[in-house]
Amino acid sequence: MLEPVSNKQPQDEAVLQVQGLDVDIRTPKGTVRVVSNVGFSARRGKTLALLGESGCGKSMTAKAIAGLLDPVASVAGGKAYLDSRDLFSMNGKQRRAVAGEGLGIVFQDALAALNPVYTIGTQLGEAFRIHRGASKKQAKSEAIELMRRVGIPEPETRVNSYPHQFSGGMRQRILIAMAVALSPKLLIADEPTTALDVTVQAQIMQLLRNLRSEEQMAVVLITHDLAVVAEEADDVCVMYAGNVVEQGSVDTVFTQPTHPYTKGLLSSVPADAQRGEGLSSIPGSPPELSKIPAGCVYQDRCPLASAICREQRPALRETGPGQRSACHFAEQVSTMQSNDEAANGQDAH
């Protein structure tokens, strides 16, 4: 069984520890394991970024930790400790006690996540009413305070507005405010800035930074924007087809990726490519979750793949200080040619 990455750190640093998490989903085509043997930990006051292509199981992991999986999905194995309390063995009541106070979550879709029929004030204050037994009035003043904290102008009047009366950026901030209302130890933010423009994104990132430093909150940031990860995160955990393929500190992983997928991802960024040039992209597409091959999950798209990759699934192993990779050939990744040619060749077909 995997050990949490942060084992070397003082134990109290790790707010969240996830070990060997498996999540299954029922589909018409049978049961599918969408998250498989995922482990990571999030440290106090730091940001852990969960990276990976769309559909690789990032949101599932987050929901599993928060205990909010859809009815078709279920946790099939693994452990998650929040401050050394086992989240998966909790009953409903204990869960509810943890929710909000220990663990806040920001959902992917800000527009839909707010209840359209209640005022922002009511929804922001709800956590105080549930956990602190606050009166309506107290809850409202707490809500105003929260809104002020996340930088919403004129909170006293806006507190009575409804979600549809706010812009996307504001709604996203309100969701964050809601998640941090009770100063949880852990905040999971699932793509908090997709669909917002960069100026608003910058504002929100600023907000998360402040919260992190002020409240010593651990943040799990889910995104597929590598640039944001590079700028905001301390640690990164790269997922592929439900598995963790690489993890480590942002600096090392981004400068010295030791998994071909991470490397492929990094070279797909259009940032410095020139107009008209082909972008480097990883050839092929991720495996269907119901047909994950034995052996390495990345074998079909990997330039380094060889016989062993088809037979044996590589375990996550240390490849550098604080960096771990699930690749048989982790050492060769750095010397691997950028897959431009391969990509172009692939695209042309």
């Binding site: 812009s167 960069v198 994104q201 910058a202 640039a227």
Partner: protein
């Protein structure tokens, strides 16, 4: 750029002047209020060119696209497509025009009917344009071509949209837009739903198509790195107006408008070396389009705002080739190379634009 190799003089495919669109939205107890989603838009697209359209969410990008597609009726202004006003077309000629302009929608899920298969979706236009591929066999052949073109398998034709990933869905949308062989494709955030590696595939695909077929694109996105990569020219929108246009390089390297500058500055960079030293972080919220600020629309968030900004709507400033900025002269026909911005106090330097990199 690929098209430059062609000797044919550059032809303008689309010319938009003073396009305006107002929505009436219900508000308060007193009935409706006007929401100027488009407030005098001017732009042009040349053959084989990609025009980027960036701007804050809700600034009117999609509305512009929808109006150009005749899904919304504009309140004013003119649209010329190859010199023709599409809004004046009827019947056959309208259908012929429809064939030449297509759109890829923002949301790859919502724009595909979940009850149809990919094949049905892609060949749907042929039901209207029966003359294109009159026989079932021809249609099937074309479907195969299209699927191949966008990198899908022939067997995918029988799957329904929810069996595809976001990227694949977006490709279905692109295949559908291509099916009629259009001259101009409006791409409304075609890659925002995709992850990086798929995004790269789609962008490459679009690039290849442009090279092969010479189509023009209007490319709407708020991912600046993508815009920078794929477009020839960029128009920046703010609250229903285009506040700056210029070649991609000009706009990205030396923005004139403070809003453009803040966009460029705030854009996160993967490479720490490229990160600006002093980022511009805007204060305040995007004003409500129902109640836009007087004078310059950006003044409420602008760090350079002066009293005059609230009084007067700024005229366009033009940056000449030598770098000097002067008041734009509407009489002088605008050269495509010119960088134009609507601002009283345009940004003068990269440092002021918050783009200076700590070297």
């Amino acid at each position: 750029m690929s098209i430059e190799t062609q000797t044919e003089p550059e032809r303008t495919v689309l010319e938009v002047q003073d396009l305006a669109k107002t929505f009436h939205v219900a508000s308060g107890s007193s009935g409706t209020r006007e929401l100027k989603a488009l407030d005098g838009i001017n732009l042009s697209v040349k053959r084989g060119e990609t025009l980027g359209l960036v701007g804050e969410s809700g600034c009117g990008k999609s509305t512009l696209a929808r109006t150009l597609m005749m899904l919304e009726q504009p309140d004013g202004g003119t649209v010329r497509f190859d010199g023709q006003d599409p809004f004046a077309l009827r019947g056959k000629s309208l259908r012929a025009w429809r064939r030449r302009v297509q759109m890829v929608f923002q949301d790859p899920f919502a724009s595909l009917n979940a009850r149809m298969t990919a094949g049905q979706i892609i060949t749907e236009p042929f039901a209207t344009h029966k003359d294109l591929y009159p026989t079932a066999a021809a249609r099937k052949q074309r479907l195969k071509e299209l699927l191949e073109l966008v990198g899908l398998r022939a067997t995918d034709a029988d799957k329904s949209p929810q069996e595809f990933s976001g990227g694949q869905r977006q490709r279905i949308g692109i295949a559908r837009a291509l099916s009629l062989g259009p001259d101009l494709i409006i791409l409304d955030e075609p890659v925002s739903a995709l992850d990086l590696s798929v995004q790269a595939q789609v962008l490459n695909l679009l690039n290849d198509l442009q090279q092969q077929l010479g189509v023009s694109y209007i490319f709407i996105s708020h991912d600046l790195s993508v815009v920078r990569h794929v477009t020839d020219r960029v128009a920046v929108m703010y609250l229903g107006r285009i506040i700056e246009t210029g070649s991609t390089e000009q706009v990205f390297e030396s923005p004139l408008h403070p809003y453009t500058a803040s966009l460029m500055s705030a854009s996160p960079k993967l490479d720490p070396a490229l990160r600006p030293k002093n980022r511009i972080v805007l204060q305040g919220e995007l004003p409500s389009p129902l109640d836009p600020p007087s004078g310059c629309r950006f003044r409420t968030r602008c760090w350079k705002a002066q009293p005059i900004c609230s009084v007067e709507r700024p005229d366009s400033r033009v940056r000449a080739a030598d770098g000097t900025i002067s008041l734009g002269m509407p009489s002088v026909s605008r050269s495509e190379e010119q960088q134009i911005a609507e601002c009283h106090f345009p940004v003068q330097s990269a440092a002021e634009a918050g783009l200076a990199v700590s070297a």
